[in-house]
């Protein structure tokens, strides 16, 4: 099984740092690539803008998506991913602070594979991220390309 990278779409550097630490502590060793806003994430995923020419076939094994993002919001990114015939197979986990019922429902309706609310307690966060990474990257059987 190839070790695919994780794409984290997150604008808050604190959260990026904490997520990275949580993954490390949870023994998820996959490479973590970070996009600071929604527009950049889309450029990356579709090989446009500053990522023009990137091999889009090199898709992430898991996308961790925050909802509240500058420029292009999390839901728009999600929509672009889930309407793309190729990218839609990549599992997307919404990783956010919001626990609004509407957001949860909307997220699942738009094809998100999981919805995780970032807990404040870091130990719980580590545990959550570890479990999630374990599940989506190791236990879950991804389609072969």
């Amino acid at each position: 099984m190839t070790t695919k990278y994780i794409l984290l779409v997150e604008d808050n550097p604190d959260d990026v740092l904490l997520t990275r630490r949580a993954l490390t502590k949870g023994h998820i060793i996959n490479e973590l690539r970070v996009m600071e806003d929604g527009a950049k994430a889309l450029d990356y995923l579709f090989g446009k803008g500053e990522f023009k020419g990137r091999d889009t076939a090199d898709s992430p094994g898991l996308i961790l998506l925050d909802l509240k993002l500058p420029k292009v919001g999390g839901f728009e990114v999600l929509e672009a991913i889930k309407t793309d015939p190729f990218l839609k197979r990549v599992p997307v986990v919404i990783l956010t602070s919001s626990r609004q019922e509407e957001d949860v429902v909307r997220g699942y309706d738009m094809g998100a594979n999981s919805y995780i609310r970032k807990p404040v307690d870091f130990e719980v966060f580590v545990e959550t991220v570890a479990q999630m990474g374990m599940y989506w990257l190791m236990m879950n059987e991804a389609p072969t390309e």
Partner: protein, 637 residues
Amino acid sequence: MTKERVATIRLTLLFLAVMVSLGLSFWLTSLNLRFVNVPLHTMMESVVAILSLLVAFFIYKFDEGDSRFDRYHALALSLIAIGMLSFFHAASPEHSVFVWLYVMGRILGSLLLLSLFLPERQLSTPIFRALPYGVIGVSVSIAVALLFLSMVLPASELNREFNIWEKWANNLSALFFFLGSLVFFRHYRREYQDADFYFGALLLLLSSASFYFQFSHLWDGAWWYWHFINVCAFGLILYYYIGYFDEQKKQWMESKIDEERIKFVATFEQAAVGIAHVAPNGSWLRVNHKLCDIVGYSREELLALTFQDITHPDDLQIDMGYVNEMLMRKRTSYKMRKRYFHKNGSIVWIDLSVTLIWKDESTPDFFIAVIVDVGEEVNAKEALQTLNAELEHKVFERTAALQNTYDEMEAFTYSVSHDLRSPLRATDGFSQALLEDYGEKLDETARDYLSRIRAASQKMARLIDDLLQLSRQTRTDMKPQTIDLGSMARKITAELSTQEPERAINIIIGEGLNAYADPHLMNVVLTNLLDNAWKYTSLHSHAVIEFGSMIENGEIIFYVRDDGAGFDMAYVDQLFKPFHRLHSAQEFLGNGIGLTMVNRIIKRHFGRVWAQGEVEKGATIYFTLGLNSKNQSTQEH
């Protein structure tokens, strides 16, 4: 023909007739006839008796109080005497007595007639008014006396020749009757009253009959002739009264018709609504005062116009449509609200009701239009509509403002849930990172501080979550249905027991705890209440928690009771306020939002919640639910 000429002709004809009859009587005398017929004679005298009394009765009945009454009164007295004695005369079988009775009747009657010549003042005295009864009495007395005195009376006739006393008594009465008739004829020439002529004629004929008496013999032609004259005299009066009553009836009917007409005109003219007769071509035929008032025209001005002239052009087509349908017999009446132009040019709103009167099958005669001024009503309606529109606008504005506030609150909530948590996460995460990565370089105090930072961040995160939950409970849509609170409570307590299996708690949950409420919200209520009970009994080795219901004043009251830490009733008011706690966080965990939430949810169900407790004895929270399936359905409709 003038009344004077009629009077002259009548009187002339009457005197000529009397003269002719005088000649006729002399001729009859010369024929020397004899015809004995007692029944015929009885009948004739009876007719005279009845008619004379009847005429007297009519006079009292119809002419009393009349200016002519005095002379009629004198005549009536005379007729009563004649009538009364004529009865006795007709009924008497004996020749001798019946002639005397006749003579007495004539002489008494004619004497009473002379009261005509008394001054009027005397005729109207009370004594005079009582005279009719006196005359009746006197007549009867005379008759009775004559019947008894028949022996001593001189023979009334000899060889059918009347005696001299009787002849002269009749001549005297003939004179008095003649004088009486002159009085009536004089009045007739002055006043042209038919009654005076006929009464005069009556007296003249009675006079002539009395005059012939002396030339006649019992049962001969002349004798029958003057009896015939007597009957004729009363026949004439009868003829007069028949005409008189006929006339009276006609007048009475005319006066009735007049009254009705006056009433109808008054109804038309003084009605509080406008009424008009309108010709089939639309011109006003007759209008009442109120209609003139409504449209501001005078009657003459209005009658020169048509209804089309003063109708608002926007309403005219509809109105004409109705008019044509009526003229084509497609409808019998119509009603509409329309506008007239007032003379001053302003618009007058009216309600119009129209019916059509037909002259015959195919010819329309006129319309009857009833017009009611509804200006005030229309104005009030318009004012109301304006007011409603303003109100609606205000409601719209305020709803928009409210929606705006709500949206802002939503945004705020979102921001709180998302943005406030991020820094807390960083605080907690990096404190933990410090502890993990640099723990050995820090002393005990520093590590304790870091732990406190973490504890504080986590507490704040919980507070934020509770706040969000609190606001959410009051905003979510309610979907009330019939639910079993008992089984809900059992699930919750089972969960609690699983979390803390070591606790020795006796849980009592009643039966039939059904309620009409929102299941999600009631779950929050029961969870909070049972959680509290669980929590506040935690310092006791053994505890009882009870959930049940009771009925008081027809209302179901639910309660959750425990025998735990309880509370001082002095602070009961603070129990349901957010973030107010009666126990320290060291004693019992929590941040004082549970009962606030319970309170809000119960209030959303139109219920009440209250508490009772005692320190170290326990606490009971009571609540009611105001909703029921019935009033819920009325709210929805």
